[in-house]
């Protein structure tokens, strides 16, 4: 298993710019997650890669949780030969927060090949988190070969259909959606009619002042359809959320931080704990980026503090506190 591999590379055999020193730097960027804090109904998201610059007093809120994504356990190529170590680094960072998050969200691609031992390794590492509750949605890698049966056996207790569900925490309504099964040739991510019907019914009785947090693996907005970075029927899903003043949508899949505000809805994608992927259209394909570690921070970019206040005074903020 990858967790047993030595976490050092003494020579750059592959001429890919990754050596031992580079790998340790790589841990610094790859062990990232996001801390999400609900402050007066506004979801703010702080990139964990800059946790040392945080001002804990300013970040206090009524509810905080951490988002991690795309741990790809089982991946062992040059872009990151030890994804277990970087996931553990993310958990360590979460545990070191002065105000521990109440729970974790994992937005999918838990495993690389949906092998039982890959899920086992992630479960073992996440047991080390101080926050004991972890809420999952599957990524396409988690459902390879069985359309998600194994995933649901492990993580789907109490869920509906292909594994979707909702829950309440301190007045915030969380909705976990599945958009990685029954994909159609030539298409994008897919929610499907049954899940859409469920969603419509799930939010019908909620007051419009209820803050909504939707999380799913593939982005629910068109980041870059040419690479499959979008969901075919997401517009239908979002139409059911129009009445709400504060809707935050958290996704993974694209292994980089992006955000977009559209009316009352703020979309936010999380970095991977495993390896980065290129910016849309900036490479031949969305495969793992193999770059010298020194360049990685530059590629991830420094996002401006981006406080957004929508019409209803409710929006998400991706603050890197730079």
């Amino acid at each position: 298993m990858s967790q047993n591999k030595r976490d050092e590379i003494l020579h750059d055999h592959n001429h890919d710019g990754i050596d031992r020193r580079g790998f340790l730097k790589c841990m610094a960027w790859a062990g990232t997650g996001a801390l999400c804090v609900m402050q007066g109904g506004v979801l703010k998201s702080y990139s964990m890669s800059r946790a040392n610059e945080w001002n804990a007093a300013k970040m206090a809120g009524e509810l905080s949780f951490a988002q991690i994504s795309d741990s790809h356990m089982g991946f062992s190529k040059a872009a990151n030969p030890d994804v277990a170590a970087t996931l553990k680094a993310a958990v360590d960072k979460i545990n070191a927060l002065s105000v521990p998050p109440e729970f974790l969200l994992h937005t999918g691609d838990i495993s690389h090949l949906a092998r039982p031992e890959e899920f086992d390794t992630v479960d073992q590492i996440l047991k080390g988190a101080v926050a004991k509750d972890v809420f999952f949605v599957p990524g396409e890698h988690d459902v390879i070969g069985d359309e998600g049966k194994q995933y649901r056996d492990r993580y789907g207790k109490g869920t509906q259909g292909e594994g979707w569900y909702s829950f309440e925490k301190k007045g915030v309504h969380f909705i976990g959606l599945v958009n990685v099964v029954n994909l159609k040739a030539g298409g994008l991510g897919n929610l499907g009619g049954e899940q859409l019907e469920w969603l419509e019914a799930d939010v019908k009785q909620l007051k419009s002042s209820t803050p909504i947090v939707v999380f799913a693996h593939i982005p629910l907005w068109s980041v870059y359809p040419e690479w499959g970075w979008g969901t075919d029927d997401s517009a239908q899903a979002l139409s059911y959320l129009k009445k709400f003043g504060s809707v935050s949508v958290l996704n993974g899949h694209i292994h980089q931080i992006m955000q977009k505000v559209e009316g009352n809805v703020t979309f936010h994608t999380a970095a991977s704990t495993a390896f980065p992927q290129p910016q849309p259209g900036k490479a031949d394909s969305p495969g793992p980026m193999k770059v010298p570690a020194e360049q990685l921070r530059g590629l991830l970019g420094i996002t401006d503090v981006n406080f957004v206040r929508g019409q209803h005074a409710l929006a998400i903020v991706d603050s890197q506190l730079g």
Binding site: A78, H112, L113, I144, G145, A185, G186, G187, G287
Partner: protein
Amino acid sequence: MKAKFARMGLASVVVVLLAMFAAGRVGGAAAQDKTATTAEVKIDNFSFGPTALTVPVGTTVTWTNRDDIPHTVVSTDGVFKSKALDTDDKFSFVFSKPGTYSYFCSIHPKMTGQVIVQ
């Protein structure tokens, strides 16, 4: 006796020769069928190459994943379906009937391809 043989022999020999020639040709074609043809599809940069592949009936097509990310090869009509192909993993299928077979990667459905069997 000898004359009769000679008289009938000319035609017989021609028939036999024709028969042997024909048989030889038939046999040759049969041998060609047994030596099944093969064809390759490479998976690179989240695409199948060639995207459309034309092969004779009986061809074994082998897909090889050369990406760092796993892919699958799944017929849209349920004719064939690979398991997850990790880097350098292969999947083969014998196309014994003519037709156009569309397929895609079930986890990256933007990746599509066709095998045209003639």
